[in-house]
């Protein structure tokens, strides 16, 4: 079976119809397939990932996402009919090394394209380097607002903008509930804090008040005083700007403090699948919400393949997939679609095309770039853990079918059916 390149979304959907299994089968033999003919020169893509240091956990997930995308893309004809070869370098979570790494990709390795590293902090220097050499930087995991406020024309984020991720929930809240006090606690982080602050600004305008608002430093290891402060506020709704590990600790502290909010939404953490359920215990997950740009079970192009490939390659189940994986995967998808459309490896043309308002598809949903490079086409989802399942509940009226939202969380440890 040979699959030619497919330039349109429609034809890709056809491929989608061939179930996940066929893609997996392809992935195994996939690399050999495009080489059946004259072995075209591969398309090289350079990516710096954090394999050690502070970001190493997410760095590795990012790398997995990119790798799976490359496998999948090659199984689907590569880019411009040429196979995709990824080059990874570790940056040890340091901006110094990020600068050097992207210089190397562009000037020594002369890669055709680059994709973004993990985190807002590293995306900023990386995009400067790319800009210097007129390279486009597509990324999905570094969408802090400060990346886009610098006037760079070459950065594009395929994920929903950080600033709007919690607004979906805020809008729903303002529309359905009476104004009441809300407890906020957020990590001091360029990606996370804006999420909470935007939601808070929105809710403040709608008459909601803050029962408590605490910003905690990134290196906090003991969350009990913060959790106590939130618990003591007695607010029925808690909005937390957490990264995965502190989200788990925070929930644990809530349980210990017997604080049982009716609605609990975390910026990230509950989206981490098995990591989350193992850390907080499956029986405590009921009703916890999290915004996300990706639905594991969605029918967006490539998603089922990605999930199958991931499970085949790295094991685990659908819920074990870190959100970094589809974010990286989506960046690759958009790159492939755009380059195939442009028809050349010219980054200048690519940049112009990405700014043209063209629409793309990804495992996370539709992508369309605003002038500053943010994805204006994305609609951030809100997920909720219901009966041990991770299900989308918001937005209402979106393209995907969502489950009804549980507005009253049960007591801790009482997940129905668990």
């Amino acid at each position: 079976m040979h699959i030619s390149r497919f330039g349109s979304v429609a034809s890709r959907h056809k491929v989608q119809l061939g179930a996940a299994l066929s893609a997996v089968a392809l992935a195994v033999t996939g690399l050999a397939v495009p080489n059946a003919t004259a072995a075209p020169k591969p398309i090289t893509i350079g990516i710096s990932v954090s394999l050690s240091g502070d970001f190493s956990g997410d760095g590795k997930a990012t790398q997995q996402g990119y790798k799976i995308w490359a496998t999948w893309q090659n199984a689907h004809g590569g880019i411009l009919g040429r196979p995709v070869v990824l080059k990874f370098l570790s940056d040890a979570s340091s901006p110094t090394q990020v600068v050097t790494n992207y210089q190397k990709f562009i000037t020594s390795d002369k890669v055709d394209f680059v994709l973004g590293p993990y985190s807002t902090k590293l995306t900023k220097p990386a995009s400067d380097i790319a800009n210097r050499y007129h390279y486009v930087m597509l990324e999905g995991i570094g969408g802090g607002p400060s990346v886009f406020s610098r006037g760079l024309k070459n950065v594009f984020d395929v994920s929903a903008s950080a600033t709007y991720q919690l607004v979906t929930y805020a809008k729903w809240l303002a529309a359905t509930q009476k104004p009441q006090p809300i407890a906020y606690a957020t990590m001091d982080d360029p990606f996370i804090q804006p999420m909470v602050d935007f939601a808070k600004a929105y809710l403040d305008k709608k008459g909601f008040t803050d029962a408590v608002y605490k910003v905690y430093p990134a290196e906090t290891t003991d969350f009990s005083p913060i959790a106590s402060a939130v618990a003591a506020s007695g607010a029925k709704i808690a909005i937390l700007g957490t990264m995965p590990p502190d989200g788990y600790s925070m929930i644990q502290n809530f349980i210990q403090a017997k604080y049982n909010p009716e609605q609990l939404i975390l910026a990230s953490g509950p989206d981490q699948g098995a990591d989350f359920t193992k850390s907080v215990g499956i029986t405590n997950t009921e009703g916890i919400m999290v915004p996300n740009t990706w639905i594991p079970t969605s029918n967006y192009p490539g998603n089922k393949d990605m999930v199958a490939l991931y499970i085949k390659t790295y094991g685990g189940d659908i819920n074990a997939i870190n959100a970094d994986v589809p974010e990286a995967f989506a960046a690759g998808q958009v790159l492939a679609q755009a380059v195939n459309k442009v028809g050349s490896t010219s980054n200048v043309k690519l940049q112009a095309y990405l700014h043209s308002g063209a629409k793309f598809t990804s495992v996370q949903g539709p992508v369309q770039f605003a002038p500053d490079g943010e994805n204006s086409g994305a609609a951030p989802y809100v997920f909720q853990w219901q009966k041990g399942q991770y299900v989308p509940v918001l937005p209402l009226g979106g393209p995907d079918k969502v489950s009804p939202i549980e507005t009253l969380r049960p007591a801790w440890g009482t997940t129905p059916g668990m």
Binding site: S52, V215, E219, T220, D222, P225, I226, A229, D246
Partner: protein, 290 residues
Amino acid sequence: MLVLQAIIEGVLVGGFYALMAAGLTLVFGVMDIVNFAIGALIVLGAYLSYSITTHFHIDPFVSLIFTTPLMTALGMFIYVFLIKPIKTNKVVMSLLTMFAVATLIEGILDICYNSGFVQIHASYINNSLRIGKLNFPLIYVLSFLLSAFLLSCLYLVTYRTKFGRSLRASMQNPVAARLVGIDTDRVSMITLGIGIGLAAIGGMIFGTTNAFNASSSYDIISRLLVIVILGGFGSVGGALVAAIFMLVIQDVVAVVWSPVWGSTAFYMILMLVLLVRPQGLFGKKGVRAQ
């Protein structure tokens, strides 16, 4: 009430920090070494307990029976092969050596555990005791009790056993210690063993109360150093008081004002105390003219 709750939490967590700091301060007192690897060693201890609990389904507290001797042996190994050979500029060379050890450990853990966040589990981890409106998380209470128990053991060992005597003697007068027949090298080796063995226990506690990965060590080390300085190098009691004092202040500032300023207060207190008492809260003035 919130402040009271913060104080209780400060005391409970302070006990754990005191245990860690005790290992650090003993090692300093006997050997003049700042064990910069303590953070990485705590994370190592956490991972060891994690592996044992997940693979053999053993209670984390029981896992200590295996991890503590292992880590103690590691400490002795580090002393014999890395610290003892250092001849010149001991203070800085040992500090850098321990930093290198920390790097090595982090690298190994990173490969073995693939750097995702994990947390040690037990059925009772989310339980808590409630007295009136105050809340005592069970795991914190348990770890505080364990810390208190171990600190008392440490106290008994140092004040009631023969080894303890040789340890205190080596701290106070190494030459005279050799003259009464104490093998000061052996004492140093065992002390580093104890110091690192304690990291196994601290690691277990850290791992049950926090999600962690290989890079989690840096957040621990700076606080421990501050506590040790404030308590006075070499003073276990000082470390206990300093740990509880600092954690209580930090937690109270965190709930009354803001968590970010809680951390700042933590370090500012050190500055202020040292401006008045350069030898720390409980340290002895040890400067001689000749």
